[in-house]
């Protein structure tokens, strides 16, 4: 059996299992709390796994292993930012959010504000962040099928994107939050298992001596000791000061973005109490942290055993490093059949990874359309739960269809920057609004609206005029930007807007607040007491 057939069979097995779980979940999904928040009845451990499944995207798995395999140490910088970010969520956001919110991020932001403008802003921001993120995953899925199965035709890629899109719509529409959570749990277990297995085999190959793995990686990379040090990819000496500031900018967006990602925030609503929200983040930190340690070995292992040159020939961004490593280590230890099986397994896991993440994103954005924009802005709070859930399902269809079309359209574009941009927008617009809401007594409607639009707008505008959109040319004279060579309208020197847009988001929020006289003392008292003690917090649905 070829690895293609095996990989597709394993993947279909995953799809079959998750569809069964989704149908089961749909039978237990009766009201809006079930649909949006899984009845708030998941345990901390289950939600912790689902947090891992929601967060560890293809960018984390294939992307970081690839960056490490090609550029060495710099990929590790990404992992560290992604992990440390969870402390912001743990200490400042998760518990307070669980206690004061209901279904969406906007519930917390609109708590003591005028609901319509704040929910409109939060809804727009949620949809923007989720679509950026979705698009990156969809294009990634198309590229992956080409890389793993040698299907380079446009039709095969388009078909993959349509397939992924349809599956994510089914998970969300049929299973709601319960179905989506189970998909993420299964995926997290598979991904951790797959990564741990390959890591053990690689370390075993080097007698569990990390130092000899690293020196072999440095040698095979052709870059020597520099491969084990920062500076080959981000902030290279050739890029000068702008490159180094870009490194700081990226680091800031990664560490501050996580706690502003809507699809991550709604996970805190799926457990019975704030204490469970805290515990689920602890589980999440454990799982995500271990996973990034594993990707370190995967990346350096791929450089050592496959070689950076071969990986770069397979895919310029290194996205095939982990699958190629799986094949190589399987061959080395178990022979050709072992290589085929491991490659197929990792390929199937990669698809499962993408599916779980896109389902989470679709759920977050369609929840916001239904609960924030439809129920509270259009219907002014008069919609029934049934109507809300129906609108959420329709939105999931529309958002799914839009991302399928955009994904096919963007297939040839270089959209790798979109994940970093989603983090930058979340850190610049959502995080200031969330933190001010939870901790600043005087914060008001004008402040919330200015923080979100100001942060979102400045992050997006700066990226439009940055080298990722136009004017970046590689050594071969070909464009490395979104636009082809010859088009250059960039004036902002950094590729990551965070360094400027995050402080701007906080500044806009501050100015909006002090320039408006609105202040509701009673609602602040309610929010403060509720967020810290859980008095009046939404309860789990008894089953």
């Amino acid at each position: 059996m070829s690895h293609e057939t095996l990989a597709i069979s394993l993947f279909l097995l995953f799809v079959g299992l998750t569809l069964i779980l989704t149908v089961r979940a749909s039978r237990q999904t009766k009201d809006a709390t079930d649909f949006y928040a899984g009845g708030r009845s998941f345990s901390a451990a289950q939600n912790g796994l689902a947090i891992g499944g929601d967060y560890m995207s293809a960018a984390s798995f294939l992307g970081i292993a690839g960056i490490i395999a090609l550029s060495g140490y710099d990929g590790f910088l990404y992992s560290i930012g992604f992990l440390v970010a969870w402390l912001v969520a743990l200490l400042l956001v998760a518990e307070l959010m669980r206690n004061s919110g209901k279904f969406t991020m906007a519930d917390v932001l609109a708590f003591r504000m005028s609901p319509q403008p704040v929910r409109t802003a939060a809804g727009i921001s949620t949809i923007t962040v989720s679509i950026f993120y979705l698009l990156a995953q969809m294009v990634g899925a198309g590229a992956l099928v080409a890389l793993l199965f040698g299907l380079t035709g446009e039709a095969a890629k388009a078909l993959t994107i349509v397939g992924v899109g349809i599956l994510m719509i089914v998970y969300v529409v049929v299973g709601g939050m319960k179905g989506t959570t189970w998909v993420q749990i299964v995926k997290a277990v598979l991904l951790m298992g797959g990564a741990a297995l390959i890591t053990l085999l690689v370390l075993g190959k080097y007698g569990f001596n990390l130092s000899s793995l690293l020196s072999e990686a440095a040698q095979q990379s052709g870059k020597g000791d520099a491969f084990l040090e920062p500076g080959l990819k981000y902030g290279t000496e050739a890029q000068g000061l702008a490159g180094k500031l870009d490194l700081i900018s990226l680091g800031l967006a990664l560490v501050l973005g996580t706690a502003g990602l809507p699809h991550i925030l709604i996970r805190f609503y799926t457990v019975p109490t704030a204490r469970d929200a805290r515990k689920s983040v602890l589980w999440g930190i454990g799982i995500i942290g271990v996973f990034y340690l594993l990707t370190l070995v995967l990346g350096f292992g791929a450089a050592a055993l496959v070689g950076s040159k071969e990986i770069a020939e397979s895919n310029a961004a290194g996205n095939t490093a982990a699958p190629l490593l799986a094949e190589k280590i399987g061959e080395l230890i178990f022979g050709d059949v072992g290589g085929t099986i491991l490659l197929a397994f990792i390929a199937a896991v990669a698809f499962a990874t993408i599916l779980a993440v896109v389902a989470g994103l679709t759920l977050a954005s369609s929840s916001s359309v239904a609960h924030d924009l439809y129920a509270h802005v259009i219907r002014k709070g008069q919609a029934t739960e049934k109507e809300e859930v129906r609108v959420a399902k329709i939105s999931a269809f529309v958002i799914g269809a839009v991302s399928i079309v955009l994904g096919i359209f963007a297939q040839k574009l270089n959209v790798a920057f979109l994940v970093a941009l989603a983090f930058a927008v979340a850190a610049s617009g959502n995080l200031p609004a969330i933190l001010y809401s939870l901790f600043w007594k005087k914060f008001n409607t004008a402040g919330a609206v200015s923080a979100i639009y100001g942060g979102l707008g400045s992050a997006v505008l700066l990226v439009v005029f940055s080298p990722v959109v136009s004017g970046k040319v590689g050594p071969d004279g070909k464009s490395l930007s979104l636009f082809p060579e010859g088009v250059d309208f960039h004036w902002f020197p950094l590729e990551n807007p965070g360094l400027v847009s995050i402080p701007l988001g906080f500044l806009f929020g501050y100015l909006g607040t002090v320039l408006s006289k609105e202040y509701r003392a009673d609602k602040y008292t309610e929010m403060e007491v509720r967020s810290l003690t859980g008095i009046g917090a939404e309860k789990a649905t008894p089953h």
Binding site: P230, K244, R275
Partner: protein, 106 residues
């Protein structure tokens, strides 16, 4: 999102209690300094990765260099702080919050 007048009273009543002030103080006096500390510690790491490459590249044991150890220490500090907060919240915050909930009759 509608709040009846009597609920407002409950919240105002709770907020006036000394235990609530204590809960708020304990929470903020932990999370604010710790957040500042780990952000500074993380930014130090990023800045050194950009500007102190000679130092980061120094080999310590075999091919394991300062950069790798520094990066791994970020994992250790993240795990450690998360554990410390969980312990702190379990012993210093949860009992107070629970007492306030019980007294409020919820």
């Amino acid at each position: 999102m509608s709040t009846s007048p009597e609920e407002i009273t409950v919240y105002e009543e709770v907020r006036a209690r000394p235990e609530f002030a204590e809960l708020r103080r304990r929470f903020r006096s932990f999370v604010f300094p710790v957040t500042v500390a780990f952000l500074v510690w993380y930014l130090l790491y990023v800045v050194l990765s950009g500007w102190a490459r000679g130092f980061m590249g120094q080999q310590v044991v075999g091919s394991i260099n300062v950069a790798l150890i520094f990066g791994l220490l970020q994992f250790v500090s993240t795990f450690g702080l998360a554990y410390w907060y969980a312990r702190y919240a379990g012993s210093k915050l949860d009992p107070l919050a629970e007492r306030l909930r019980e007294e409020a009759g919820r």
